[in-house]
């Protein structure tokens, strides 16, 4: 045994471990999407300890809801998951309608489904585009954003705003669909298919992308269930839970679409589940546009719930009184507590509402899907390399507004 061997054995016995380096991926960091702070302890490049600190975008949503009337929550609800605002609007409208025990007319349900699925497509575009860009693939990001702009054009033509529509109303929608709504949506569909195919051709056989995404950030099924993970992130671990399938709301039970489910819950599966869900959303939109009646009321005709037409308000006294009461006292809701949940962009978006019978919500609790997905990110990142934080955090799709409320 040469002397060098003794030195090596002695060193191994001594176990001189390097003391961990504490690094601070602070609130303002490209990978942290602007509002998360991660304090990580590194041994060389592998993560030993990780403290995720959300809350840098806590804007007091739940406290602000307790100040306005029921319909004044829509603008706040828009800015929860601001990548797919229409889904929050629909979720909030359904929650209060469940409290009131009313059902919106058929045409409005189709309208809500189509606009909601368009928002979901925009959400998955942004998430996949951004996580690919953070791995250096800038081109798919620009393609996806180009088509997302076209999706926003349709939403802008319908609602008047590109992103923060505030278009939902309790008991209907703010306005009926425009005349060119159906053909715009049908004209958009081939574009979506084209850009998804281009992204797949570009990324799915790229050696770097494969190495960075496959087998990285693995989340097991038990961990997902225990952390309360829902949405694409849960489906990527093998849990076939999709609120549109398990508890159909609106008219989702009339469409046949399938729920993509991954097996080993790594970044690759999450990316693929979102990519496949875009196609499923397009299938839903096609069937919904075909089945949607072309005429019929959008709003439920109950003056105590929906705002009367402006033309009536200026002419008839009943409408004026109804309008005055709705504005001044807000919507009269029965006293009680209700939990209504829909499939948001990142998972089960629930609204737990407590009403004390007055026009103002007593307590509004949002069940934020990406809050629990982020809580599970600790399991996915520990033991990995520091470079794995970027793709894993990108595929968790943490949205500040919804996560910190």
């Amino acid at each position: 045994m040469e002397p060098a061997d003794d030195l090596l054995n002695e060193m191994a016995a001594l176990e001189i471990s390097a003391d961990p380096m504490r690094l601070n991926m602070g609130p303002s960091h490209p990978a942290m999407h602007g509002t998360i702070r991660m304090v990580i302890d590194l041994d060389g490049e592998t993560l030993i300890n990780l403290d995720v600190q959300p809350g840098y975008l806590h804007r007091g949503f739940e406290k602000s809801c307790e100040r306005g009337t029921w319909s004044q929550v829509f603008p706040y609800a828009d800015r929860l998951n601001y990548v797919s605002p229409m889904l929050n609007n629909v979720g909030w409208a359904l929650a209060v309608e469940k409290l009131l025990g009313i059902e919106v007319p058929e045409r409005c349900q189709y309208y809500r489904v189509i606009l909601g699925e368009l928002a979901r497509i925009a959400d998955h575009f942004t998430c996949n585009g951004a996580s690919a860009m953070e791995l250096g693939a800038f081109t798919p990001f620009l393609w996806l954003l180009k088509v997302r702009d076209w999706v926003w054009d349709i939403l802008e033509r319908e609602t008047g705003a590109r992103m923060t529509h505030s278009f939902g109303r309790i008991g209907g929608m703010a306005a009926p669909p425009t005349a060119t709504f159906k053909d715009d949506v049908l004209r958009l569909i081939p574009e979506v298919h084209k850009v998804v195919k281009e992204t797949e051709i570009m990324l799915l056989r790229n050696r770097i992308f494969l190495d960075r995404m496959q087998g990285v950030g693995v989340l097991t099924k038990e961990q997902a269930l225990s952390y309360g993970v829902t949405g694409p992130m849960a489906r990527s671990t093998g849990i076939p839970y999709d609120v549109r399938k398990d508890h159909p709301y609106l008219v989702y039970d009339r469409f046949d679409f399938d729920v993509p489910v991954g097996e080993d819950g790594d970044n690759w599966d999450r990316f693929m589940v979102r990519l496949e869900e875009i196609r499923q959303s397009v299938r839903i939109i096609e069937q919904a546009v075909e089945q949607m009646p072309d005429d019929g009321p959008i709003n439920v005709d109950d003056p105590r719930i929906i705002f009367p037409e402006k033309s009536d308000v200026y002419t008839t006294i009943e409408a004026t009184i109804a309008h005055f009461k709705l504005v001044m006292e807000g919507l009269r809701t029965p006293k009680g507590e209700v939990y209504s949940f829909t499939e948001g962009g990142n998972g089960e978006l629930g609204f737990h509402i407590v009403s004390d019978g007055s026009g103002t919500p007593y307590r509004v609790r949002v069940r934020p899907p990406c809050w629990y997905n982020l809580a599970a990110s600790r399991e996915m990142l520990l033991g990995g390399m520091i470079a794995d934080i970027i793709p894993t955090f990108g595929s968790v799709n943490m949205i500040g507004g919804e996560c910190d409320r």
Binding site: G55, G228, Y241, V338, H352, R365, Y372, A376
Partner: protein, 244 residues
């Protein structure tokens, strides 16, 4: 199917299930605070229920209620049967429910948020810190008695005198679009900034030199002159904007 969950719990706990209701279609069971962790553990381990999918944990504040101020609400779902149940308990101010983070890991952050927002501590919780607000924050904002606009800034505000954030348009200016006489402006060519706003922000004019422009220019000078001598009249110190 959630009714089966309620019956199973009644069978198991009998009178310890204080109340159960299915208002608005949500099945709910209320238990005393001392059985909170035990019932939750049972719901997860029981072979019929298997409530393994944690959904949400939150609290509601009823300050007027004398017997117990807070409602703690836990929602779970079973990934096997798909059944959902809501578990509720009453918590007095200062009481500490047992932590559920051992049963579901998702409860860790949920409980930290309930502590941060309501001030309900959970004993046995591994890391009872604030999660949404900063450590220096005093008080729990989602309590009804915390005023909504009581801010506790970390960085002292700097007084902003460089731009006077007056309401968008003065009374006499009205909507900028309404204040422009279109003929003269169209005759005189486009101007990027409406005169009303230009005066408000003291911008450089970008008008062309047509007579319509001169007319508008004259009106602006008159207004500026009126503002200037109004400023002298009130003699407030005209310090130069900071703009460092």
């Amino acid at each position: 199917m959630s009714q089966a969950v309620v019956d199973r719990l009644d069978a198991q706990f009998g009178e310890r299930v204080l109340e159960s209701s299915d208002a608005f279609g949500d099945h709910e069971v209320r238990v005393a605070l001392k059985d909170w962790a035990e019932v939750a553990q049972f719901m997860k381990d029981d072979v019929d229920l298997q409530m393994d999918h944690f959904i949400d944990l939150t609290a509601v504040d009823y300050p007027e209620r004398e017997l117990a101020r807070f409602d703690l609400v836990l929602m779970m779902r079973s990934s096997v049967t798909g059944a959902r149940i809501r578990l509720r308990t009453h918590v007095k101010d200062g009481e500490e429910p047992g932590t559920l983070s051992g049963i579901w890991s998702g409860a860790n952050w949920a409980e930290r948020e309930v502590w941060d927002m309501f001030g309900i501590k959970f004993n046995g919780h591994p890391d009872m810190r604030r999660i949404l607000l900063y450590e220096e924050f005093v008080g729990h904002p989602l309590r009804k008695d915390y005023p909504i606009d009581k801010a506790q800034p970390l960085v002292p505000y700097r007084e902003v005198d460089t731009i006077d954030k007056l309401p968008p348009f003065g009374i006499e200016e009205g909507q900028p679009f309404a204040r422009i006489d279109w003929e003269s402006r169209l005759a005189g060519g486009d101007s990027q900034v409406s005169p009303a706003l230009g005066v408000q922000q003291g911008q450089r004019r970008t008008l062309s030199d047509s007579e319509a422009a001169q007319k508008i220019q004259a009106r602006i000078e008159a207004q500026m002159a009126k503002q200037a001598e109004a400023a002298q009249a009130s003699e407030e110190p005209s310090d130069e904007g900071s703009g460092e």
